[in-house]
């Protein structure tokens, strides 16, 4: 075990909403050719058949309205663009086509190809540059939020590919339940009660002891009371709070992306400002799914998780056996034990990656279980999904022999 892992006491995951890797981090390829971002030549056909290239014109708010469709059948269109050849091969050519279906407006549909320049996202850019950015972290399902988030909590969505999710009394316990049973501590911090959680029906309803607010997270960081494992949910809605107007910070279109940047910065600062916590914590910032926004990397096949979604749920006329991942999303691992400028599975000059390490949201419970409950499978055989059992874990990235000095911090004002 590395020195970093010997010192590790806390894993914190912040899961944001609905942005693709290329949309948020694709421009970083210009500064670091190891990052599998955008060359500027990537394109999709629009409704007139004209090829439309990606453009660095993403704005913080107002462009992606209506919310781009990211239901299973829409994502299927985005990935395959109607290609039903057997075997089906992803081509990532249907993003404009899919967005066009919503407003029938050719010019507007092209905005799905927009991406941010690094100067617009100072927080995400700085973190990706300073710590470890993943070239191959994918949503667990080519579908929407709830079922993807379920993979982070349970290592499976129990056969669901939609926003419906009711999975009480299944054999696969949540990572929080496993931690508790093993004598560890775990918490889901939602932003406030008005924003609450996306993990409602099972955990909040039956096990509210796992939940705390973001204010409590901040306080726990200061007072060295952070649980072994923490999962943070951003603010999902614009609403009035005790201190005035609270902007949604989840970055879900059409919520303001800058507010999400500020939220990420406050999470980072809260950990960094406590030196003991900083040196004993690994923070993962990751997005649940791509939200219908363009990415150029083909989602790979994966270990089926033993469930089958029926055609009535997929909306494609075909069943889905959970044998393929969703679209790639941004993911950054933050720790002073991570070498500066780490690119996980770096791109070679010829544009390929040697034996890419594929991560997805089942990597989260897999990593937490592997680190805190190394003997879990021996004591609890067959109580993790096949997907989670096969998922890559990421703590080996804390590879330095000593924590390095990190000067990076963020000024988010008052």
């Amino acid at each position: 075990m590395s020195q970093g892992l010997d010192n590790l006491k806390h894993i914190v995951v912040l899961m944001m909403e609905n942005r693709s890797f290329d949309h948020m981090l694709g421009a970083l390829k210009g500064a670091d050719a190891r990052i599998d971002g955008l060359s500027g030549n990537e394109s999709n056909p629009d409704s007139t058949g004209t090829m439309v290239a990606v453009q660095p014109q993403a704005d913080f708010q107002g462009q992606l309205d209506p919310d781009p469709n990211h239901a299973f059948n829409a994502v299927d269109l985005q990935i395959f663009n109607g290609n039903n050849a057997n075997p089906r091969v992803p081509n990532m050519q249907g993003f404009i086509n899919s967005y066009f279906q919503q407003r029938k407006d050719t010019a507007h549909s092209q905005k799905i190809m927009y991406y941010f320049t690094p100067d617009k996202l100072p927080v995400l850019t700085a973190l990706a540059t300073e710590f470890a950015v993943f070239n191959r972290w994918f949503a667990s399902i080519p579908g929407p939020t709830i079922c993807n988030r379920a993979f982070a909590h349970y290592g499976t969505s129990f056969g669901h590919v939609t926003m419906d999710l009711f999975y009480i009394n299944t054999i696969y316990k949540s990572i929080y339940q496993r931690m508790l049973a093993a004598g560890h501590t775990a918490k889901i911090y939602y932003f406030d009660q008005t924003s609450s959680t996306m993990e409602v029906v099972n955990l909040l309803k039956d096990q509210p002891q796992f939940f705390g607010s973001y204010q409590q997270f901040l306080s726990d960081c200061k007072q060295n009371r952070l649980p072994d494992y923490s999962f943070i949910e951003p603010n999902y809605s614009d609403h009035d709070g005790d201190s005035g107007e609270l902007l949604a910070s989840d970055q879900h279109p059409d919520h303001n992306v800058q507010e999400g940047e500020r939220f990420i910065a406050t999470v980072y600062n809260a950990i960094k400002d406590n030196e003991a916590l900083w040196e004993s914590t690994a923070l993962l910032v990751v997005y649940d799914e791509h939200g219908g926004i363009y990415d150029h990397v083909l989602p790979p096949d994966c270990m089926p998780d033993g469930f089958v979604a029926q055609p009535k749920d997929t909306g494609t006329g075909m069943p889905f056996t959970f044998d393929r991942l969703g679209v790639r999303v941004p993911a950054i691992l933050i720790s002073p034990w991570v070498p500066r400028g780490t690119v996980v599975s770096p791109l070679k000059p010829d544009g390929t990656i040697d034996n890419p390490r594929i991560f997805e949201h089942a990597s989260i419970p897999a990593t937490v279980t592997s680190f805190f409950m190394n003997d879990f499978d021996q004591k609890n055989p067959n109580q993790r999904s096949p997907r989670e059992m096969k998922a890559e874990t990421f703590l080996d990235l804390l590879s330095l022999p000593a924590p390095r000095t990190v000067d990076l911090s963020f000024d988010v004002g008052d």
Partner: protein
């Protein structure tokens, strides 16, 4: 006009082991005073009386200056005024979150339910209000459950003792 060639210093001019001048020592002393006001976590723990050379002085000066003015502190801009829009129509995500909360709300006793009709929820702030109410009720119920189970746990040894007595 003749071009004047400015000579370079001799190659051996660089000497970071040169004894620190009074000026540098004074600078170190001033920065050490500043260091005393820093939070404990930012203190260097360096004994400045041991600083003898220019190299040692410059390393210390850099460390304290960096703590006073972190060069990589990035100012994170605020969203533009007017970004707040609580009257935004519900996204599919929020709509489904509301539906899930309605399912959870059904498990509450009737007197703890909100009585709100979720079909009338159209806007983001309406969803937020509903979700907030149900979350508070679920937490209250959870707290009650925890209190109850704690009470049960505290009674447990007595029962065990009784059952042992019976044996």
């Amino acid at each position: 006009m003749a071009k004047i060639v400015v000579p370079k210093p001799a190659k051996n001019s660089f000497n970071k082991d040169r004894p620190a001048s009074d000026l540098l020592k004074a600078q170190v002393k001033h920065l050490h005073e500043m260091e005393k006001n820093l939070p404990h976590r930012l203190k260097t723990g360096r004994n400045v009386d041991e600083i003898k050379t220019e190299g040692e002085a410059s390393a210390y000066i850099k460390a304290i200056t960096n703590r006073l003015h972190p060069k990589d502190k990035i100012k994170v801009p605020r969203p533009a005024a007017g970004s707040f829009h609580k009257h935004r129509p519900l996204s599919d995500l929020l709509k489904r979150q509301v539906e899930h909360f309605r399912e959870a709300e059904r498990s509450l006793p009737p007197n703890e339910q909100t009585g709100m009709d979720i079909n009338e929820i159209r806007l983001e702030h309406e969803a937020a209000t509903y979700i907030g109410k149900v979350t508070a009720a679920l937490h209250a119920r959870g707290a009650a459950k925890e209190t109850k189970s704690a009470e049960q746990a505290s009674r447990l040894p007595k029962r065990t003792a009784k059952s042992k007595d019976r044996k």
